[in-house]
Symmetry: C2
Subunit: 345 residues, 2 copies
């Protein structure tokens, strides 16, 4: 194959070949028991334990749509690219086996400028730091020159056969839970946009500010929480919050053939966010899951809080699939999930 990470074509610019060697070298540092053969052949080879099945997901990130080169530092783009994929494994209760990354980049993003690191090296700083934290080796991928930056992330995970958390397993009467806090990513993005409007590109974002915007810049995939729920068979269904509660809960309802009621006062809203962002803001990458009412769900799993936010009910003709219960009454909650940079500005 014409696989950049596997065998750089001989006509590649010397810089490109050096870059590929550098990535291979860095990717190879991570010890990975499930990886039989990493970067360097036509395919990578992965070992699966007997009794396990595979979970596979891919997510495409495109400059200007899923991230902006002027708003997001390269480390953030690398982190978020991998976090999107890992989050899908978390939602299935799968353990990560390996990541694969196809990267298309304009040439200027691969060049060092004086003493400054190249964009792509900083991208891998963010990517590989998260990969290491979640023991997920970068096992292969592709690298090509492209007129704009695109990154397609593939995650392969393993889960005990028949035990994956699916969207379709919820039952009427189940309670609805969410991990962590919601709305923080949307609030962070709004703030980033506001800063950019005042001429504060990502190069001017201080360390302190990055911490304030962490929910948007450095979302944590809920791998440990998904595994915990799957191994104890506690959750009946799960989905990760990538598009916002209003949209992702509608998907879960659709798949399970049910309706859901959300209790607004119970929502664990991020300190920087409002209700709107909590309900419709995407990219929090928290888990939304259901469990039977008689099961005791702990207040935190692997260090992350878990909050009951509503319940699953039978679907009734003529009624909204998802309803929001506030102190003032009940209103339908239409899916208005966040579509990255597609919203009008």
């Amino acid at each position: 194959m014409r696989n950049g990470l596997n065998h750089p074509a001989p006509q590649s610019a010397p810089g490109e070949r050096t870059l590929i060697q550098r990535i291979r070298g860095r990717a190879g540092l991570l010890d990975a028991p499930g990886l039989t053969l990493g970067i360097g052949d036509d395919c990578a080879l992965l070992a699966v334990r007997s009794g396990e099945e595979l979970a596979v997901t891919t997510d495409l990130s495109i400059a200007g749509r899923h991230f902006r080169l002027d708003w997001h530092p390269p480390e953030v783009v690398g982190h978020r690219t991998l976090a999107r994929g890992l989050s899908d494994l978390g939602a299935m209760g799968a353990r990560p086996l390996a990541a694969f990354l196809s990267l298309g980049l304009p040439q200027e993003l691969t060049k060092t400028k004086g003493r400054q690191k190249a964009w792509v090296d900083r991208f891998f700083d963010g990517f590989l730091a998260l990969a290491e934290a979640y023991e997920t080796p970068l096992a292969g991928g592709d690298l090509a020159q492209a007129p704009l930056a695109v990154a397609d992330i593939v995650l392969v995970g393993a889960v005990s056969r028949g035990r994956a958390l699916q969207r379709s397993g919820a039952r009427a009467g189940d309670l609805l839970y969410v991990t962590g806090r919601v709305g923080g990513a949307a609030a962070g993005l709004d703030q980033l946009e506001e800063l950019a409007g005042r001429g504060m590109g990502h190069a001017k974002i201080s360390r302190g500010m990055r911490e304030r915007l962490a929910a948007h810049l450095f979302p944590e995939p809920r791998i440990a929480q998904g595994l915990w729920l799957q191994r104890r068979r506690l959750a009946t269904a799960a989905i990760d919050l990538s598009d916002g509660i209003s949209t992702d809960l509608a998907h879960l309802c659709d798949a399970s053939g049910l309706a859901a009621e959300v209790d607004a006062p119970l929502l664990p809203i991020h300190f920087a966010a409002n209700l709107e962002q909590a309900l419709h803001g995407g990219e929090d990458y928290e888990l939304l899951f259901t469990a039977p009412a008689k099961i005791r769900i702990p207040r935190s799993i692997a260090g992350v809080t878990v909050t009951k936010v509503g319940r699953m009910v039978r679907r009734r003709r003529g009624q909204a699939m998802v309803t929001l219960h506030t102190c003032d009454g009940v209103e339908p909650l239409e899916p208005r999930g966040w579509e990255h940079f597609a919203r009008p500005r």
Copy 2:
């Protein structure tokens, strides 16, 4: 996740949602015993037989670099996208389990024009026809609007543990074989370029002409041949010819720590190609493999001819890694593999 194929965001244009439903519907028609859960959840779930390991590969195709919208009919782009990935599985001797496709497209490629099918529908005509021929279900992926067309293909296959054909297994004295004919894809591309220069875009290419250019337009991945070699434990090493013999053989030599001699008169050159195209032309997607001299390799495997083209020898200091043996003598064969559209025009 924001996974187009899995759950279209509610704000998507109606056309986009219809498109996603259409793809899901078409992809779901293929019966696939290894696919436990297809498009529609956070991950797809795949079953692996006990004693098997996984082979995974990704290949990024970008408009203007790996294909040209003015030269290549949409069905061809779809076919070639999947063929690239399947070919990698063939080179490992793996059987396909599932394909995943991330597709970024400009909006105009998703629209029907009067009675004409949309570009993306014709893309899937080519993609899914090949998928069906190789019993490879499309199990997931992503779909996003993008300023230019990009397609990242992921193939997941299975192979008996420890039995995958790797590049590194060749031994000195092994003979070198190639499936099918070489150079045809490069010759076809040259002809396509020539036609384009005369104003013959892909819309004007007749059915007869497509057949003449088939080696370039519709390459066949060598899945059956790879499986045959792997199951009989006949090949010691293998690679697919994506960059051309001169480059791919160098990779095999590199991985095996050996040198190789190619006998020019033995090369099965495609009827439309010359020696240059046969040696350095890429994208033939034939298998190049090695086997011990005492093993009898048949003249054809699963209907495709197999030709002995040289041998593996010990590497000697100061000598070229790959040498070409002609009637006139011996010359070094430098890797000058084909770099898609990067060559100067």
